[in-house]
């Protein structure tokens, strides 16, 4: 008898890999977050985080940077995606590529370029830290907002717009009551693509003016100090935020995976 080969078994290596290197590390993080350096169970990392004005301030500051960055990206990306999707340029797709091409250029190199320009314009860039933080993050993440918005706006069925016009809606009403609601999935996935990274990507700020105050930088500094327990705690806080955002947005967003540059 021939050994029967089962297609289902093909997923075993990947499943084992995911358990070992995705689930297991997260469990280890949880363990570290609730123990001290000697491996004893403790809430002290936790209470220290939520009682220190320093760490709480960092949490608030990163929320502020991330929220403003997301809003600015949305304000720039929505009209851009809208104009592109509605336009009748012959090479619409090539034009879209121009807007999202920076995705494929290493972000540290792009931030280097931005830093030189900001230095040229402002002189001393550490003077306007909040403004520059938002500018840097926007520069880094804008393509990730434009792509999902364009995808959802270009899928929009034109006959809805015609129907709205036939039924007597003006342009503004049509936009507010047809286009905008139908583009919500795009907005949501764009927002998650920008909000979470701008809470954690401290390198952008680090490169701009050598000092940072967002959640990611806390992990960075605990890492350099070999303080795994506190680093794990910050990671856990971030995980909870990510979990909440994912739960909240899952209801709206369709399953589109291709927002991190899959256009190729």
């Amino acid at each position: 008898m021939k050994l029967r080969f089962n297609r289902k078994q093909l997923c075993i290596p990947y499943a084992v890999f995911l358990i070992l290197f995705v689930i297991f590390p997260l469990l280890v993080l949880v363990y570290h977050a609730f123990t001290n350096g000697q491996g004893k169970f403790t809430f002290s990392n936790f209470t220290a985080f939520f009682s220190s004005t320093n760490t709480l301030g960092t949490l608030l500051y990163s929320f502020a940077v991330a929220a403003v960055t997301t809003l600015v990206c949305l304000a720039i990306a929505y009209p851009t995606a809208y104009i592109l999707a509605r336009s009748n340029f012959k090479k619409k797709y090539a034009l879209l590529l121009l807007f999202i091409l920076p995705m494929w250029i290493n972000f540290t190199l792009r931030v280097t370029a931005l830093k030189e320009i900001l230095t040229l314009i402002e002189g001393n860039i550490s003077k306007y830290q909040f403004f520059n933080s938002v500018t840097g993050m926007t520069y880094d993440f804008l393509p990730f907002m434009i792509l999902p918005l364009y995808t959802s706006l270009s899928k929009l069925d034109k006959s809805y717009l015609e129907a709205a016009a036939d039924l007597g809606a003006g342009k503004f009403t049509t936009f507010m009551r047809v286009t905008l609601p139908l583009s919500v999935p795009g907005i949501i996935s764009g927002v998650t693509m920008v909000f979470l990274p701008s809470m954690t990507n401290y390198v952008v700020l680090d490169m701009l003016y050598n000092s940072t105050y967002i959640m990611g930088s806390l992990i960075g500094s605990y890492f350099s100090a070999y303080d795994w327990n506190n680093g794990a705690l910050i990671s856990l806080v971030l995980l909870v935020i990510i979990f909440i955002v994912t739960l909240a947005t899952n209801r709206f967003s369709e399953k589109d995976s291709g927002n991190r540059g899959t256009l190729l």
């Binding site: 370029a113 931005l114 490169m207």
Partner: protein, 268 residues
Amino acid sequence: MKKYLGIIWLVLVLAFIYVPVVVLAVYSFTDASMVGASANGFSFKNYVNLFADEGLRNMIFGTIVLAVVCAAVSTVLATFGAIGAFYSKKVTKSLLNAVNQIPVVNADIVTGFSICVLLIVIMQVSKDTYIPLGLGHIVLTAPFVYLSILPKLKQMDNSLYEAALDLGATPAQALFKVVIPQLIPGILSGFMLAVTLSLDDYFVTTYTKPSTFDTISTYVVNATKGSQTEAKTALWALSTLIFIVVIVAVVLMNVLSGRKKEKKNESR
């Protein structure tokens, strides 16, 4: 008038995106030490430095090797994972899909840090073995390959596999000669995505890399913080080269896929 407003908006956004990169590209051909500083005319000095410096050369080479090797491993692992999951029971399938989603939505910094704590702190794997770095990049990229293959599996004509078996092919032959060829576009785009994600990564790399090894990202961050002008301006040349490579790649892809579409239309 309204149409012009739209075009003006697009031009402004493009200017925001490209002015820094292009200005840097222009200055990369001078011997100026910072943008805006006076330059003594045209110079290839930065490009010569980029290729003459062995450290820089090794760094670029290492980054590319790391990206390609990890992307290849990710692609194999995730392709079989996706095929297996597709034919599995609903429970297994949705469990795998859910776990696969974790690194996708997770912040890279948390992924990197958690792998660092597990492998380096608890299991005491030496960073110098490159094992934590490689595994980290595979964790980062494999889920995206998995995601780019799933839709192709759904579009696949299932009866072809059955037909192959009926015609006497072994399941393995049917898999490699019938199923996988149908998935090639998804596998390829997954691989490309994995390469670009790995090239762009900073956080996973910085928490898992050997101290003597640098990728482009970690090298650039150290160089901009440092005061060495020569290393800094050589990176302008690197940035310009990558910019050109990306443009050429995108244009080529576009032309190629455009041709394919034309052929398809002609044959109809």
